[in-house]
């Protein structure tokens, strides 16, 4: 039974890494790959319908970890408390940047949220690497 749950959690985390990795990649490169505001909008639009859905895999993996391997869940989330809290903040900032960016047609406004989106995406990848690598 433990092996089955391990496989389920592994599948969920793999799905999250693959699917949200695409979203994070778009966030990281969109300041460099896209030069104009329209190109950046096009990149963000490409992940628009899926980015929050992809993050549900992380929630599902966390929830499954909670009742399948509570010891691992407790040790992981308390041992990496600060790093995971920072990841939570960065995920929030990323979502806010995507949602707020298009509300005002102002160069300073959109540039600010572009930088927030790029920085948050990059730092999320760094902190994931720190947590899972450790």
């Amino acid at each position: 039974m433990e092996t089955l749950w391990f496989c389920i959690v592994a599948v969920m985390l793999t799905a999250y890494v693959l699917l949200d990795g695409f979203d994070l990649g778009v966030g990281i490169i969109h300041l460099i790959a896209a030069r104009t505001d329209d190109e950046r909008s096009a990149l963000i639009t490409s992940i628009g319908p899926v980015w929050d859905g992809n993050e549900v895999w992380l929630l599902a993996a966390g929830g499954t970890l909670y009742f399948a391997f509570p010891g691992l869940y407790a040790a992981g989330f308390s041992g990496f408390y600060l790093a995971l809290m920072i990841v939570l903040w960065l995920l929030m900032l990323r979502g806010i940047a995507v949602e707020f960016r298009g509300h005002i047609r102002n160069r300073m406004w959109t540039s600010f949220w572009d930088v927030v989106f790029c920085g948050a995406s990059l730092l999320i990848a760094v902190f994931y690497g720190t947590v899972w690598g450790t």
């Binding site: 599902a60 929830g63 909670y66 009742f67 407790a74 308390s78 041992g79 408390y81 600060l82 809290m85 903040w89 929030m92 900032l93 806010i96 707020f100 509300h103 005002i104």
Partner: protein, 151 residues
């Protein structure tokens, strides 16, 4: 099993009164609902995307998947809340024993301040955006041509 072993150390009248609710919440959360919401729900979505199905069937299937997901998250929440409360609140375990030794007071304070900062800033921005939309009012075309109300 661990809960039962600890409970027998207490007088019966001191037992938490929500153990049956916890028991059923846990088993409903981890039981057949899980397979339905996770596996069957995904298969249904795939089938809906590939096959030509009638709108009533889509509505029924969507309702089933959504309601099962909501039920499952609710029972999961109940398991979490009910499961931890008896240990600490009903005096079975000391509060000090329920804390994590890896999370320092400084960490807790830092994250508390972080959340206190990260919520108000988007909140103020959100209010500013709402105010801006209200200030703009409806578009001129909407004012000139009222929408039809009969179908």
């Amino acid at each position: 099993m661990g809960l039962a072993l600890l409970l027998v150390l207490l007088p019966r009248e001191d037992w938490p009164d929500n153990i049956p609710l916890l028991y059923f919440s846990y088993h409903i959360n981890g039981g057949p609902w899980h397979h339905h919401a996770g596996g069957d729900g995904g298969q249904r979505s795939g089938a809906l995307a590939e096959e030509s199905v009638s709108p009533p069937r889509i509505a029924v299937d969507s309702d089933a998947v959504i309601s099962v997901s909501i039920h499952r998250s609710t029972f999961g929440w109940m398991t979490t809340e009910l499961g931890r409360q008896p240990w600490l609140i009903y005096g079975i375990m000391r509060t000090a024993e329920g804390t994590s030794p890896h999370v320092t007071g400084g960490n807790s304070l830092f994250t508390l301040l972080g959340f206190m900062g990260i919520y108000p800033i988007p909140g103020v921005l959100f209010l500013a955006l709402i105010w801006r939309e209200i200030d703009h009012g409806p578009a001129r075309s909407e004012l000139a041509a009222p929408a039809l109300t009969h179908y």
